[in-house]
Amino acid sequence: MQFMLLFSRQGKLRLQKWYVPLSDKEKKKITRELVQTVLARKPKMCSFLEWRDLKIVYKRYASLYFCCAIEDQDNELITLEIIHRYVELLDKYFGSVCELDIIFNFEKAYFILDEFLLGGEVQETSKKNVLKAIEQADLLQEKTENMYHSKSFIGCKRAY
């Protein structure tokens, strides 16, 4: 996989992971063009796109678009499943995930992604194992942060 982008229906980037070295300028250009192209597509259309010499595989979950770039000879369908598994992981971790979870905890979303995909390749496919690894690292954080902020932010999510 070359890169993965998450963006909202409004075209706001929510997460970006690049597995190939590109300059910031190129990244911005690609992001802009892709977001535009994907958003312009109608709902019943195919989840795959040919874009330059890459294949784009995208899928919309609620208000978020998940978009992966793969090489031409890669398998598009299994890439869709990669997206799906990632969504499942987020869902399990956050407990019925929504865009706001990803906005406010985007670093967590990155941690989960890094545990699932490493260097552009699937690293661990077992949902249980991925979350286990994340939770191991999380645990201390939960402990310390809960002491200070435990209740204060519940409900904020609904407000936004």
Binding site: L13, Q16, E81, N105, D114, L118, G119, E142, S152, F153
Partner: protein, 951 residues
Amino acid sequence: MSDIVEKTLTALPGLFLQNQAGGGPAAAKAPFSSRLGGLVRSITALTSKHEEEKLIQQELSSLKATVSAPTTTLKMMKECMVRLMYCEMLGYDASFGYIHAIKLAQQGNLLEKRVGYLAVSLFLHESHELLLLLVNTVVKDLQSTNLIEVCMALTIVSQIFPREMIPAVLPLIEDKLQHSKEIIRRKAVLALYKFHLIAPNQVQHIHVKFRKALCDRDVGVMAASLHIYFRMIKENSSGYKDLTGSFVTILKQVVGGKLPVDFNYHSVPAPWLQIQLLRILGLLGKDDQRTSELMYDVLDESLRRAELNHNVTYAILFECVHTVYSIYPKSELLEKAAKCIGKFVLSPKINLKYLGLKALTYVIQQDPTLALQHQMTIIECLDHPDPIIKRETLELLYRITNTQNVTVIVQKMLDYLHQSKEEYIIVNLVGKIAELAEKYAPDNAWFIQTMNAVFSVGGDVIHPDIPNNFLRLLAEGFDDEAEDQQLRLYAVQSYLTLLDVENVFYPQRFLQVMSWVLGEYSYLLDKEMTEEVITKLYRLLMSDSISSETKAWLIAAVTKLTPQAHSSNIVEKLIQEFTVSLDTCMRQHAFELKHLHENMELMKSLLPVDKSCEDMMVDASLSFLDGFVAEGLSQGAAPYKPHHQRQEEKLSQEKGLNFEPYGLSFSSSGFTGRQSPAGISLGSDVSGNSADTGLKETSSLKLEGIKKLWGKEGYLPKKENKTGDETEAPVPQETTIMENVDQAVTKKDQSQVLTQTKEEKEKQLLASSLFVGLGSESSVNLITEQPECCLSITEAENTKIFQYSVQMEKPFMQGNLCGFVNYQTVDTLSAQLEFSVNLSLLDFIRPLKISTEDFGKLWLTFANDVKQNVKMSDSQAALPSTLETLEQKLRLHVVDIIGNEGLLACQLLPSTPCLVHCRVYADILALWFRSSCSTLPDYLLYQCQKVIEGS
């Protein structure tokens, strides 16, 4: 220790899950960072992009102040990093925080470290210079006893790591392949995969370990190793044929459901693993019947098993079909695969239909009948509302084009092209149309019109081969001369018609094609027409929308047509116009035309009609100039030096730094394999009076790293004046000290290697000094000799002088000579006085005073040769002053200065000469060393670089 940590860690998830159950999902959701929350919320509240920009800039400047404040705690820093990442994601520059991300990864506790590493992976790219600062942290974390730290380090390495620093972590990662935890082994394999991608030759020597990973008892580790194997097999499938059996067995087990349920995905066993294995098998079985036969069974089973109606089974099926068609064919399997393709093509699901088309495109050349089976679907897809489906269909059609269907297919392609705006698609499709038109054109008119469309639509983004091929085709023609003339005439007529249309702008490339064709083949028209053509070309030349390149084509066409024209009014007008043009190129052309125009006969012979394909006779040896050359030589001109010869010298001096050996030196022998100094030999030469001496000297070399500053200008030869009251018999110095020194040096080397390479400039110095003579001496001990010598005992109140000479057997950077004196004071207390002298290479360098002529002779006899370009600062750009500096600081003798070149000579005592040739151009000093000793030039180069770049 690590055991305890591991135990705790395995217990943690259980605890956590309990927590989760009690606290509900809110436990994970609640603690988002308040500041980030605030930022996000205020951004959401904004209405314009401008406001957002203002807010973020404000945020960034406050963050900038916070991160650089000394009072900022790591915890705050972590929170700042999160906000910085957010700002970067929104597209704002937060580069001031990069260094702090690295610091956080280095200094933070686990949680902070994790955020630090994440920020680094998001902020930096592979060749970012700051990344070098992370290497130390990674090395430290890889050695940590805490599993999570090791995981983090491996994760970052697998994502982003400077290529030239791979050797620093490679041994550590190799060790991790034997780790007891599968997650560590898996990540280590993926890190090696990353290394294989960015620097394959660095991991070549551990291919055996990849095999071990392939046989790992944990499926995850095995699956990770497949990524490496896939790449390696893709590059060289013949080297891994022996693994086919293993891959087949693994796939059989997976398909047969033998893996733990953990690996199931929606009740399909390990789909990612299956697909990877299928791809590998496809590569191995390509054009290889025997290997393919091994996999027929398992492929058959895969096709059979994948029946569940889920997306992921289709993914496997698709890969399976691909593999069946890639390997040596077996009709039974092909039949089944073809049926599968049918399922895809006919599926109502658009994704599957697309893949069906893709599969058809892939197999169609092997099995064109499949296209016939699905022709109706294909036709439907041609008018599909989704352009991607259309495009894939066109791709399919492109592969089945022949003389009969070419017109229809090309028409469909052109239709698509007219709707498309994306440059990449246009270039791609236009190329295909041109190819088909050339191959299968049914008649002249169609061919020219199609190519006209190609040139108009393709415009100037078109691949330059297309117009070139087209013109060549036109010029060379086919076998039938009459037919060729017709084609050319048709082209000319069609272009004239196109040029008649008012207010249409054609792409420059198209105009260039037109002008060449008109210039070359307008003679096929009626004689009266020539003037008309010239008029049209002239009108184009005067147009503003024409690029100067096209103008050159146009004027060339006019020049060709001029001898054929009856009247030359327009040509004269044109000459008038352009001989005063500001465009020098155009003016040149106009003058050429003017002069030729004055001599019609010459012009006609120079520009014959329709001779573009005739070979011109060119006297390549320029023999007609022989007389001229001979005359020149006889008058003392220098003989001609071919261009490449002149260039060669220049190039060889521009040679850049090669970092490759740097890596090799580490990978072969770990950290300690650094190329390092050899030894000193102590030749004792006691020249004092007789009498007993109480001085004992144990000399040992202490080898310092290269970073150390050389302060000493000169070296005092071993003169020891010792007066002791009483003397003791010398105690032999023990070897344990030496061992300590040895270790200390080794450690120092490690850390120095890591810190030094952080700066680009230092890296250059390092490279030139560290990798001296690599290859010729692969293993060098840090300390080669520990000569001991012991002096005689001196009686009380006596003075003795001992003189020792120290010689350098092999060049080294810096050494240490130390020893001690035992003596007894009046009250018979035994005392020891230690001394040590630092020696550097420069202490052994002396000017070598030779003549220029001798220099030349010596130069040719030396085989060891090192070249390097060094950038000089402005102040010393003049050669003489630079050489003077070298003479003063390094004691090189300036033999001669000739123009911008200088000759220097020196010798390593007692008698190892080294010659330097230097040349200045701009602010670059090209240094060229030659010596009879293989390592001396490198050391001297290093010293020279230091002097030049340091001053």
